[in-house]
C-alpha cells in the first residue's frame, strides 16, 4: 500500500493517529473509496492469551476523510458480547466489505455508520472516531 497516493488530508489523519493513539496503525487496503486502517487494542482481552491482532480491527475510513465519516469495522474474530456471547450489533460474518482484508484474517464486518454522530471536521477528529469505535465495542460487551 503506497500511502503517498492517498489524499494529503488522509495522510495527515494517519500522522495524528500514529502520533497520538497507535504508532503501528497501518493501511492494509483501499477499495471503493474506503481505506482499511488497522488499529490495535480497540478492546481489552476477555480470555487469557488472546492474540494481539484479535483485539484490534480495521476501521473503514473514507479516503475523503474528514469530509465524510467512517463506515464499518472489520475484525478477525467476533467481538465479545453480553454474558459470554458475541456482539450482534449489526454483525455480518463473511460480509463482502471484509473482502479487502480477508487475506489478513478479516472476516467479521460490523456495519456501524456515522449517520447519527457529529460531523468530523479535521484530520485530528480521527482520535474521537477511534474512541467512538471503542465505545461501541464496549457497549456490546456490557
Amino acid at each position: 500500500m503506497n500511502e503517498s497516493e492517498l489524499p494529503p488530508t488522509f495522510q495527515e489523519m494517519l500522522a495524528v493517529l500514529r502520533r497520538e493513539r497507535d504508532e503501528h496503525a497501518r493501511v492494509d487496503a483501499v477499495e471503493s473509496n474506503f481505506a482499511y486502517v488497522f488499529v490495535h487494542a480497540l478492546r481489552k482481552p476477555v480470555k487469557e492469551n488472546e492474540p494481539e491482532d484479535h483485539l484490534g480491527g480495521w476501521l473503514r475510513i473514507p479516503v475523503s476523510f474528514p469530509d465524510n465519516g467512517p463506515w464499518g469495522l472489520v475484525t478477525i474474530v467476533p467481538l465479545p458480547g453480553k454474558n459470554g456471547g458475541i456482539n450482534g450489533d449489526n454483525h455480518n460474518p463473511g460480509h463482502g466489505n471484509a473482502s479487502p482484508v480477508r487475506g489478513r484474517g478479516g472476516d467479521h464486518y460490523y456495519s456501524w455508520t456515522w449517520s447519527e454522530s457529529p460531523p468530523v471536521r479535521s484530520p485530528a477528529d480521527i482520535l474521537g472516531v477511534v474512541r467512538w469505535f471503542e465505545r461501541r465495542i464496549r457497549l456490546g460487551m456490557t
Binding site: D89, N90, W112, T113, W114, S115, E116, S117, P118, G128, V129, R131, W132, R135, R136, R138
Partner: protein
Amino acid sequence: MTQKVHHVIHVGKMEQTWDQDVVKASAIMTRANFIPPEGFVLEALTHPNGDVVKDFQPNDDVDFRDEKLKFFNVIPGGSGRS
C-alpha cells in the same frame, strides 16, 4: 467563614477549574471546545486514558464531590445505526 470550593478536573489534555459542585456535562464539553456539545458524550475515566467509570449525556449533571470524577474524555455519540 466558608471556604470557596475549587474543583480541578482534566478533560483530555485540558485542565478545568470549577467553583460549583455540580455542573451540566454540556458546560464541561463546551469549555473543552466541543461546540455545540449536543451529539457528544462525556466519559469519566479512572485516570488519564484509563477505564470508563461513567457516561454523561450533555444534559446530565456532573457532581464533582464524587471523587471518581476527575478525569474525562469527550467522544462523539451516535448509535452507529443509519
